[in-house]
């Protein structure tokens, strides 16, 4: 399935899609989007690359096994969940927010990190599943 068109398109598409996925992740708090969709889009970006350039190249771009993202994401989500317990003496999962929003990114708070955790887990697990299946064929 290695067509020239797909190949040349995907080398541009990968960074654009990844950027787009981060965009979706960040806008989630105010507008449609969020970690889950963002993660899926990022996963699609890599899968598309694997499709056109081969699995090995896509893996090389990633540098590490995608499964590694799963525990990282889960820890980020968990730590953001318990951060109010640790820092503010509030119950678990209470949102704590920085007072001033940062340009481009927007408001910073523990739910944002939670969403980043979800984002990472979704990328990690969907890529693990798809890569494993395509390797075993």
């Amino acid at each position: 399935m290695r067509t020239i068109i797909l190949k040349s398109a995907s080398s541009y598409l990968l960074p654009v899609l990844l950027l787009f996925s981060v965009f979706i992740l960040l806008r989630g708090h105010y507008l449609p989007g969020g970690g889950f969709v963002g993660g899926l889009v990022a996963a699609i970006a890599f899968v598309l690359d694997a499709f056109s350039n081969g699995l090995d190249k896509a893996k090389k771009i990633l540098k590490f096994h995608p499964g590694f993202l799963m525990p990282v994401g889960l820890s980020v989500a968990f730590l953001s969940g318990i951060s109010p317990l640790v820092f503010a003496d509030l119950p678990m999962m209470t949102g704590i927010w920085a007072e001033n929003p940062i340009p481009v990114i927007g408001a910073i708070g523990s739910p944002l990190f939670f969403d980043i955790g979800v984002y990472l887990v979704v990328i990690g697990s969907s890529l693990t599943i798809i890569f494993t299946i395509s390797e075993s064929l």
């Binding site: 989630g28 708090h29 889950f36 899926l40 969940g81 678990m92 739910p111 969403d115 798809i130 064929l137």
Partner: protein, 768 residues
Amino acid sequence: MLAAVLLGFLFSLFLVFAGSYFKGKLAVLSSIIPISLFVYFLSFLPEISNGEVVYESYEWIPSFGVNLSFTLDGLALLFALMITGIGSLVFLYTSAYLKGHKYLDRFYGYLSLFMASMLGLVLSDNLMSLFIFWELTSISSFYLIGFNNDKADSRKSALVALGITGIGGLLLLGGAVLLGDVAGTYRISEMLSMRDSITDSSHYILILLLIFGAAFTKSAQFPFHFWLPGAMKAPTPVSTYLHSATMVKAGVYLLFRMTPVLNGGDIWHTILIVVGGITMLYSAIHIIFRTDLKGILAYSTISALGILVFLIGIGTQAALIAAAVFIVVHALYKASLFLITGIIDHETGTRDVTQLAGLRKVLLPVAIAGFIAALISGGVPPTLGFVGKDLIYESTLHFTNNAVLLTILAISTNVFLFYAGFVAGVKPFMGPLPKKFENIHLPSPLMWVPPLIMTLAGLVFGIFPGLIESAFAKPIAMTQAIAFEDFHLKLWHGFNTVLGLSAITLVLGTILYLKLTPSHALENSIAKFNFISPKILFLKLSEGFAVFSSYWTNFFQTGYLRHYISTIVAFLILLLGYLIFSDFSLESDFSTLAELTIYEISILLMLLAGVLYTVFTKSRLAAVAALGVVGLSFSLLFLFYSAPDLAMTQFSVDTLTVILFVLVLYKLPRYLNLSDRWLRIKHGVLSASFGVLITLLILRVLKEPKNTEITEFYAENAYKLAHGKNVVNVILVDFRGIDTMIEISVLIVAALGVFGLLKLRLKTKDKK
């Protein structure tokens, strides 16, 4: 007290890391733990003898009423002292008995795990924590029975014991939950004042049966007794500690504890007297058919446990005191006899009574201990055994029903127990010493001093029964919430019926011991009846269950996804169909629905086309693409109904699914017809009816009044409380963040599952 309970757990945890230091010469040091605990509990003795009760409580899961509350009263103290006292001696003994064993540290770890759990069990005032410690004793017993895990029958015995006591644990949990429900608390000390409301409740019988089930399995009552002889596969210190002195008495302890709460008249008395009575006589008779010393002791232990249950069943003050004293008597002589058996086994290499003789010439101190233990066991004056036996007869004679029958039962059991004690404690030491045993010499004092200490204690307590009376008997009688009458334990009561009965027992026991020699012929004669023994029946039952469950599993777990889905859908159709048609009228109000727009109609047509193409196409890739059309149409639908988040997610998920399908299908052979026409029709009917049902369900839902409370709450508070304007996202990451956390964990589990399954398969393929 919490520290006292936790000490054993901490020590076993410590052994995991520092075990290698405790394998060699330092092994004996681990006995510091039980000895210091023994001293600690001994320090409570003055308070408890004055009738005081010590409470301690720590919150654990207060919202469920589950707390670590401990009570130290007479009953708990008796058990705590027994656990730590005999524990100390067993710890010392083990250091010599298993000297140089490869896994000695592991053994000590299990042993102290058990000690801590057992302490927790007897000190718990909360039924739930009692249950947890109860299970922990079963589990540590499992490890200890299977300690020689390279032997198949050790493993099997461990499993049987775990199975039986595990069933008991489940029953206890059921009983505890019901009892807690009826009483409104899990604290036993609070239940004491609620006896009437508990015994009057409609669940009373069920509670009683569950608690009895737990006690009978743990304390090896007929017909659950057979795990105990099997448990003798464990090293002797374990048999001494768990399976004669402490753990098997947990059931008796539970009955004791529950007497003031559940003792509600005839049914309590009848069941306990009948079960205890059968157990004590049945296993007492079994003793004469055994030639293995440990087998003899195992059956006499079961018989003694039967006596205890029987006495609790009688339930008068005299009977309860008799039971309390008998617990001490039995612990002292049975633990000694087990330790002595261990020494004999250790030195001669056999436990066969028919071969052992004359050992007094080489193992004199052991012989002395054995002789005294036999005297205690037989109830010969002036030992504590005599006091105990007198109390038993006293209580059976004064029981209101069938006093004569019960007394005869008690006497015959005691005759056999007399025999058992003498066969185990005296016979191996009598007569001429066979040549093969001439080279035996006395083992380390660590082994023969413990039994000597215990038997001497039995002698001292017999001569001064006042010690037992003030320390245990009276405080225990007070815990039983019966009208307390003052009493005195005495060795000599003067010439009366009880003394006569004691004399009869001694005479009959002596005759039995002198006339009956244990032999293999006797052992084989009973083996003929094995096929109706509860053990075989139980094993048959469990085998049958395994066969049944493998049929059941094979029927449902075919390994084909389509079968699973068909089963689930068919089941849902049945369930939903029943629910809908039992209460359904098709008079939905269609007028409230909005007009169909041209967009909706076109999406609908797209959907239909996609579905039909998927079903009827001959090309697999085309089917996948058509399925993608169905998914995308749905995401359009979501978009029209103003759910952009859902639409986006659906869109991405669908893209990934199609890619996945293509990945897999691309490599498959061109075309394979997996289903014939009938199967397709069957699946068609199944899915069509499922679709119809879901449609009906949705129409039904429309009739329900709309509840917008939740929607409004989120719409109002999303920005106020969570600084977010996208309500869906705020719900996901903030309001219901823990749900999301669990969902992503599930996602990880799924990914790991796929990874594991496929990678493992790859590896086995590589091997070929």
